[in-house]
Amino acid sequence: MSDTAVLDREIDRSKLQISDEIAIEITMMNKWYGDFHVLRDISLTVNRGERIVVCGPSGSGKSTLIRCINRLEEHQKGTIIVDGIELSSDLKNIDKIRSEVGMCFQHFNLFPHLSVLDNCTLAPMWVRKEPRKEAEDRAMHYLERVKIADQALKFPGQLSGGQQQRVAIARSLCMNPRIMLFDEPTSALDPEMIKEVLDVMVDLAETGMTMICVTHEMGFARQVANRVIFMDQGQIIEQNEPEEFFNNPQSDRTKLFLSQILSH
């Protein structure tokens, strides 16, 4: 990917406030797939309002890490506490956390049999038991914000990739999540569309949303993130502020990775 800033707008840094309150606390978390040790002794604390970018080579466990945070994957050792609730096998806690944590996938995963609007109102109506009117009003509000309200009655299959990803973001926002997870939200998109999606993500950052993004968009990392985490072979190798991370990487593996990714 590239370092050329895909964002040609000023970011209002004053809005990017980080509070002392802890949103996610991961301590000595380990995960195995059978014999394969995917995540090793991961410890990570995320404060409310932080924007964290996770990068690393393919297969390093980035997706697995963020999927553990909303329990799409189960960890075997250590603890994960989200919003003060510890993730255990208790289904009640999991459903609670999932409705607090929004997630966007690389391949959008919109529901193709439902219109854009129904995609957005489904969870509020069925999980939160909101009346249809209220859910639709909020859905339209968020679709407006991701600039796609005019497509509300179309089906996902009739939209471009960038539009679909923006709908996916709106769909997550409709649950009023306090934390958003992004797993390579732009890597299935053309450059034009990457920009429109990143734009929406910057907007989101400016509202003070806590965000963890797996992405190789280094321009986004530089301008929006307050911390960049580098992972390799299931471990967090290095984490730092973007300026430091890109200009003065500490470990050799980070240097190698950055040289590869930035030389494109």
Binding site: N70, L72, D90, L91, K92, D95, K96, R98, S99, V101, G102, M103, F105, H107, N109, L110, F111, P112, H113, L122, A123, W126, V127, K154, F155, P156, G157, Q158, R171, S172, M175
Partner: protein, 436 residues
């Protein structure tokens, strides 16, 4: 002299003139689709010849030289050499009703018309949704119309699911406080189902008898062995289809379940039923089943056959639907999970609508197969349309007649199967929501 021309100004929109008939219209269509090249032309001519020869022998036989008025086959042959349709004319009521009492035959007709009404909201989205509640009452109503008896039996049957749903709610409330919600849901569903079935098996007959002795309102009872012909095919076919669909869904979901016991149960059931010929199951229904039931319970033969046919079709249905479930991208399950939908909601709102849509061709295939398989009940002595043939052909007057009778039955089955096939195409088109 001024020789000014008035400028031409059109006083209204001029309609475009129609394209020449060499581009559109029937002639152009024929030229483009039937005679566009040498190969195409040859194929068209061969096709026309084949159709011509078929019609050349069929039309005289069926239409021009057929005999409608005759009292026996010899009669027919002496009048003309075409089809002897007089046999249909004489016996069609038997083909439709079997030996159903003549003066009660309005009842199956009413049941059939009500069936169309009940199917309307199920099959077409345009119908008022409220009608679905009325549709839910249809099975017991139809049962009462066809078999007759007091009104209490059907009412007691209808009370079963209502009580079942209430029990489920209560169980679910109580149990979900004590354990994991998913397991509580399954346990209470199993409990409610079991109690409902128990109610049907043991209590309904007693309730019917007691209330019937107090207040005997109802219809003249008709015994099962009087029911035959297309009526029997429809009873078995329609109940089998209506029953195997939900059961198939449940089995398919059960087979994918994380709960080992449920998974093993469903897999075992599917593999067993699929591994056994339907005829075997029908024999079990007609002979063996009585041994397994508690003594004293009388269990109607048609009902037993319906149950067997339903179970048989459900096993196939489950595998067809499992194919649809497997075809669904994993991302759909994950997106539903990530939004906080629980298992039942994600199945109902996200997974099943898509999986069933993918499976429509296979599902309808199973339905059509089931409907035609109803003719197998002849082996246990039931008089479905093919069974009705026996007595007719044994009749002195009609001895030796074949084509006309089988053709009549074939047309009946074709109309229904073709109807189902067209419906499935309509449904697929309607559910089309753009490429993904």
């Amino acid at each position: 002299m001024s020789n000014r021309h008035e400028p031409f100004v059109a006083s209204g929109d001029i309609q475009p003139s129609p394209p020449p008939s060499s581009v559109v219209g029937p002639i152009a269509w024929v030229r483009e689709n039937l005679f566009s090249g040498v190969a195409n032309t040859v194929m068209t001519l061969i096709g026309i010849y084949v159709i011509y020869s078929l019609l050349a022998s069929l039309v005289p036989w069926l239409l021009l030289n057929s005999v409608w008025n005759a009292s026996s086959l010899q009669d027919c042959r002496s009048i003309d050499n075409g089809a002897c349709l007089a046999v249909i004319r004489e016996r069609y009521l038997q083909f439709i009703y079997g030996f159903y009492p003549t003066e009660e035959r309005w009842r199956p007709v009413v049941a059939f018309v009500l069936m169309l009404v009940a199917l309307w909201p199920v099959l077409f989205a345009g119908a008022p949704r409220k009608l679905l509640y009325a549709s839910a009452l249809y099975p017991a109503t139809a049962y009462w119309l066809i078999w007759g008896g007091t009104i209490w039996g059907p009412l007691a049957v209808m009370a079963g699911p209502i009580v079942g749903i209430i029990l489920y709610r209560v169980f679910d409330k109580v149990l979900s406080g004590m354990m994991d919600e998913g397991i509580a849901g399954i346990l209470s569903m199993a409990g409610a189902l079991l109690l409902t079935i128990t109610w049907w098996l043991f209590a309904v007959v007693q309730v019917d008898a007691i209330l019937g002795s107090i207040l005997n309102i109802g219809l003249e009872p008709v015994a099962s062995d009087k029911i035959g012909g297309f009526l029997l095919s429809m009873i078995i076919g329609v109940s089998g289809i209506a029953g195997s669909f939900p059961l198939g869904i449940a089995l398919a979901l059960g087979r994918q379940s994380n709960l080992i016991f449920i998974k093993a149960l469903c897999t075992g059931f599917i593999e067993f039923i699929r591994g056994v010929p339907l005829i075997t199951l029908l024999f079990v229904a007609s002979v063996l089943l009585q041994y397994f039931l508690p003594p004293g319970t009388t269990f109607d033969l048609i009902l037993r056959v319906v149950i067997m046919v339903t179970l048989f079709a459900a096993a196939y249905m489950a595998e067809v639907i499992r194919g649809g479930l497997a075809a669904l991208p994993k991302g759909q399950y994950e997106a539903a999970d990530a939004l906080g939908l629980d298992y039942w909601k994600s199945m109902r709102l996200i997974v099943l609508p898509q999986a069933l849509k993918i499976s429509i061709p296979g599902i309808v295939n199973t339905f059509i197969g089931l409907f035609k398989d109803t003719t197998l009940v002849i082996v246990i002595g039931m008089l479905d349309p093919v069974g009705i043939l026996g007595p007719i052909r044994a009749d002195q007057n009609w001895n030796g007649i074949v084509w006309e009778l089988y053709g009549f039955i074939a047309i009946f089955f074709f109309v229904f199967c073709f109807g189902m096939s067209r419906y499935s195409l309509y449904l697929e088109r309607k559910l089309q929501t753009g490429h993904r």
